[in-house]
Symmetry: C2
Subunit: 211 residues, 2 copies
């Protein structure tokens, strides 16, 4: 009987794990749909109904999978994080020289700005929201840290190729690149065709002086 009970308990536990996984998978699916609309409209103008309309579901589902709107958006932020903090890592790994690293980095930078502008303006939007809404702060600060580390990996590798060490702190380096990217993104979205090449030039000039 003890064996039977244990068997039943095990089966139940497995079933629960499966259920949880399905639940979580749907959460992420919904968060991904939400990210689409958020990237299009921004935090201020995005409603649950609008999100639902741009997805395969109806607005009620979101309340089944998320406790409220903040919960949904927090999930979006966390999911976004996983996607973006490894964006340049393969370049860092595969590059075998300064030039290769530079060109790989710049190419990906340009592609990101060109193809994922909407996702990135959303990131800046949500980071600003975190200054007002405490619920976002923890996740946003974590992402910021991850991005800082990502930049630091690039800079360290670059310096390494020159037998040097980066000339500034991780915080300053991240601030610099983030600031440049943000500015370029705004100009790009405003229709400035020169925004991307100007960013590339600036970064190309800057890399040897900071690393």
């Amino acid at each position: 009987m003890a064996r039977q009970a244990t068997g039943a308990a095990k089966r139940e536990a497995v079933a629960e794990v499966v259920r949880d996984e399905k639940f979580n998978a749907r959460r992420i699916e919904l968060a991904e749909a939400a990210l689409e609309t958020l990237g299009e409209l921004g935090f201020a103008r995005t409603s649950l109904r609008e999100i639902a309309q741009n997805s395969a579901f109806t607005h009620g589902v979101f309340h089944y999978y998320f406790s409220d709107k903040l919960d949904l958006i927090c999930c979006c932020v966390r999911h976004y994080k996983a996607k973006c903090v490894t964006r340049y890592d393969d370049v860092v790994v595969t590059a075998t020289s300064r030039d290769e690293l530079t060109e790989g980095f710049l190419a990906r930078l340009a592609a990101t700005l060109q193809n994922e502008a909407r996702m990135h303006r959303l990131w800046y939007d949500l980071r600003s929201q975190a200054m007002f809404e405490a619920a976002f702060r923890k996740d946003v600060l974590e992402i910021d840290k991850s991005l800082e580390a990502m930049i630091w990996r690039i800079a360290s590798r670059y310096a390494e190729f020159g037998g040097k060490r980066p000339a500034s702190s991780p915080a300053a380096l991240y601030a610099l690149f983030d600031g440049l990217f943000q500015s370029a993104l705004l100009k790009h979205l405003a229709g400035d065709k020169a925004a991307i090449p100007e960013l590339l030039d600036e970064v190309r000039r800057l890399l040897p002086t900071v690393c």
Copy 2:
């Protein structure tokens, strides 16, 4: 009769100018009230009624002085600009040495972060909004340019004291300081007591290397 007509026309023109000035003064007064609420709640959560409730007026007035909500917020942005782009100018003018400039700059930086955090998080919020709302872009890009020039004045003066020229472009310098400030602001708002001193340390270390 010609003289009479001219006189009447003149009087009328003067009256119109006075009326326009009064109109504009009230617009600014309302924009200032709106800035208070915007700084408290952020763009996403601020309604006209909320703005009115935190002011001496009722919600209808805003429609009398502004064509719509965007018009009001654009006016806010423009008014904010006039305030903030001259924040460090007297330090630049009065400083007579590198140290004096550094300490003046750092002191004002700390004071700004401490006392005007709400206004600055609003700036970052609205700059992000500009990535979604085209109506904001022109003013935001203008302010960004003014801020870049402001940083450039400080850096140039600093370099001048050392008989040098700034080592980077105005855009890169602004990106750097803006990025550092933005990061420090978020940490400060999140309750991180070390945010301000860390920013000051970072800037103190950075100034001699970039100028």
